[in-house]
Amino acid sequence: MIAFASGMLLAAAGQLDSATIEIDLTGEAATVRAVYHISSARSDSVRFLLMRIAGQSVHLLRPAQPILSSDDGAIAFTIPAPSGGSTTTEIEYSVSGDLVRIPIFVPNAPTDPDRSSIELRVRGYVHRDAVRDAFPRFSTVEDGIVSRPENLPSFVLLPTGSGLSTNRAADALVAFLILLGTALWARRYRRGRAQRQSPMRETS
């Protein structure tokens, strides 16, 4: 029992105290600057993982000489971390190609919802009317859009505003199903009531 319970915690390298991600969109490319503060390191290294997204190429600018591994699904690197101490990591990379999803390096250190702070800031996003469909949830600020989720996502979704919005379609489908369900129930209830009343009339 105890073994199973403790085994269900993710293998964390520490705790992500804060992450500040700044994304600058410049037409055909995006530059991402990210700063991570990780404390209470429980191992001697922290692994950063970046999701590979189809139709995109990623060029790592900083750190200059990481221990890098790369395959079809992700790019990963590991940095040393002082055991029990805290570490700050700065990563900078550029993304070109399809910019609807901008991948973000995620360390194997979860946040603490009560203490950690995550901030994602995007500049140069022109489709502000589509921001309600963005992921994570963004709000509009003077110089772009900003999001402060409780957990660090593996990418930022920035819809272009063209075509059908999946979010709106899903919400509309739910509203339709609720109305349909209510109508069907009302019809069934009225029929049942009529059936119960007709034998009573016959008897009386």
Partner: protein, 475 residues
């Protein structure tokens, strides 16, 4: 999102209160309260069975397991369905034909001893109180992640609201509310999957990322020994689960019970696949959550569009409520009908029995909150543990007892007590060496229970023929 969630919650609460009040007017006798006057049909019955099965263990725990361990946990469902089929063919028809009010009623009649029935009632109360801990813990996780409120507050709200609708209308209100809950969960999950897939950029991209993250996520995180142990625990506990068996009693007849089980398996298949997909896709979106139990509420609150997310959160809360409600109906009836009504005040009136049942529901709902606040393990772990105990003490007297004439009262007592303690002792001793020997506590518990049941029955006084005849007919 918070505004939409509040609106959906308010509408849902009014609907639930409406159903509960309507049911209260239909509830006049103990039979109305405990088995809804035996009036439930196959579709509502199927949704009810699915709702009792789909608990916090599924929407929080199982989804969290898929988030954390990937695909292999899904094979556990075969154990769940094997349990349902065993129940459909070897348990439900005889139990429904017998037509008791509670499962200890069956135990007492089958083995010709009210004391054995009382023992079953006590073991049910203990094991299901553990199950309630998991439900309350899950409600705390959802409340913390979604509303930012203290787990204790959420647990007390769940206790209060569930106790009220359970007390008002008994099984009748529960059944119609559970139909609504099953539909909410099924539609909420089905709509969530394509939305999450769209977010993740498609199936192939998501799977490649998961494979890079940890190849075990798409292959074998758990080995065959572990999967068999978990599957056996679920299978044997579901085959003899008192809170599901009680629902058989509320259905019209044996045919309705079998149809309802088939419909429940259909609902579970849809829910199981959706939960698998959502767990994996949430891992793609948020690879490092502090606890797997947070995956479902974070997905619903931070990723899904407002109405879908709100619907799913309400569905998750209602799944917890429905399971809490089912458990409280069983444990409340165990106290009032099987202990109070048979041993303390055998002459108690119907009104008094219903009153005692309602008080018991409140008391039995509050006690597990204390343990839930201490978080002894993740939600799925607690669910598995209670399943192991239920299987260990109940599978043999229920399933074997219903299909073998030779079982005696002493054999049933030995089987229940022996199975319970064998499971308990192995859990704290032999279970630690599981990786080496692969023998799980549930296997030790059930085998011990079986050996004791057969051996003691062989050498003790047989059950009176009139009791045996009820279940097996004449020789």
């Amino acid at each position: 999102m918070t505004g939409t969630l509040a609106a959906v919650l308010i509408v849902y609460v009014f609907v639930v209160i409406g159903i509960a009040v309507w049911s209260a007017f239909q509830t006049k006798t103990e039979e109305d309260f405990i088995v809804a006057g035996r009036s439930i049909g196959p579709f509502v019955g199927g949704a009810v069975l699915a709702a009792t099965q789909i608990s916090a263990g599924t929407v929080v725990g199982t989804l969290g397991r898929h988030y954390f361990t990937g695909v292999s946990w899904w094979y556990i469902w075969f154990g769940v369905w094997a349990g349902w089929l065993t129940s459909a063919f070897f348990v439900a028809p005889k139990l429904r034909r017998f037509g008791a009010l509670t499962v200890p009623d069956y135990i007492a009649t089958r083995f010709g001893s009210e004391k054995v029935g009382a023992l079953a009632a006590i073991l049910i109360i203990v094991s299901y109180s553990i199950y309630l801990v998991a439900q309350f813990q899950a409600s705390g996780e959802i409340a913390r992640a979604v509303l930012g409120i203290r787990p204790l507050t959420a647990m007390l709200v769940i206790v209060a609201s569930t106790s009220v609708y359970t007390m008002l209308g008994g099984v009748r209100s529960s059944s119609y509310i559970e139909l609504l809950q099953t539909l909410l969960i099924v539609f909420g999950l089905l709509i969530a999957v394509p939305v999450l897939l769209n977010h993740a950029g498609g199936f192939g991209q998501a799977m490649r990322f998961l494979d890079s993250m940890d190849p075990r996520l798409l292959r074998w995180y758990y080995g065959p020994k572990e999967l068999i142990a978990f599957g056996v625990a679920f299978s044997l506990s579901i085959a003899a689960a008192p809170y599901e068996m009680t629902r058989y009693y509320s259905m019209r007849d044996e045919k309705t019970v079998k149809q309802a089980i088939a419909i429940a398996i259909g609902f579970q298949f849809i829910i199981g696949l959706s939960v698998l997909a959502i767990g994996l896709l949430t891992r793609v979106l948020f690879p490092n959550l502090a606890s797997p139990d947070q995956a479902s509420s974070i997905m619903a609150f931070e990723v899904l569009p407002p109405l879908v997310g709100a619907l799913l959160i309400v569905g998750m809360v209602s799944a917890i409520m429905s399971t809490v409600n089912s458990i409280l109906l069983v444990t409340g009836a165990s106290v009032a009908h099987d202990l109070y009504g048979k041993f303390i005040r055998p002459d108690a009136s119907q009104a008094r029995l219903v009153g005692v049942n309602r008080i018991a529901i409140v008391v039995l709902a509050v006690v597990p909150v204390f343990f839930a606040l201490r978080e002894f393990g993740d939600v799925q772990t607690i669910v598995i543990e209670q399943a192991k105990f239920i299987a260990s003490f109940f599978f043999v007297p229920v399933v074997i007892g219903l299909n073998w004439r030779g079982g005696t009262a002493a054999g049933a007592t030995a089987g229940m007590v022996g199975g319970f303690f064998a499971c308990l002792v192995w859990e704290f001793t032999g279970q630690r060496g599981f990786a080496t020997h692969g023998i799980d506590a549930v296997e030790v518990g059930v085998v011990t229970s079986l050996i004791l049941f057969l051996a003691v029955s062989r050498y003790t006084r047989p059950v009176a023929e009139e009791n045996v005849r009820i279940f097996f007919g004449t020789n």
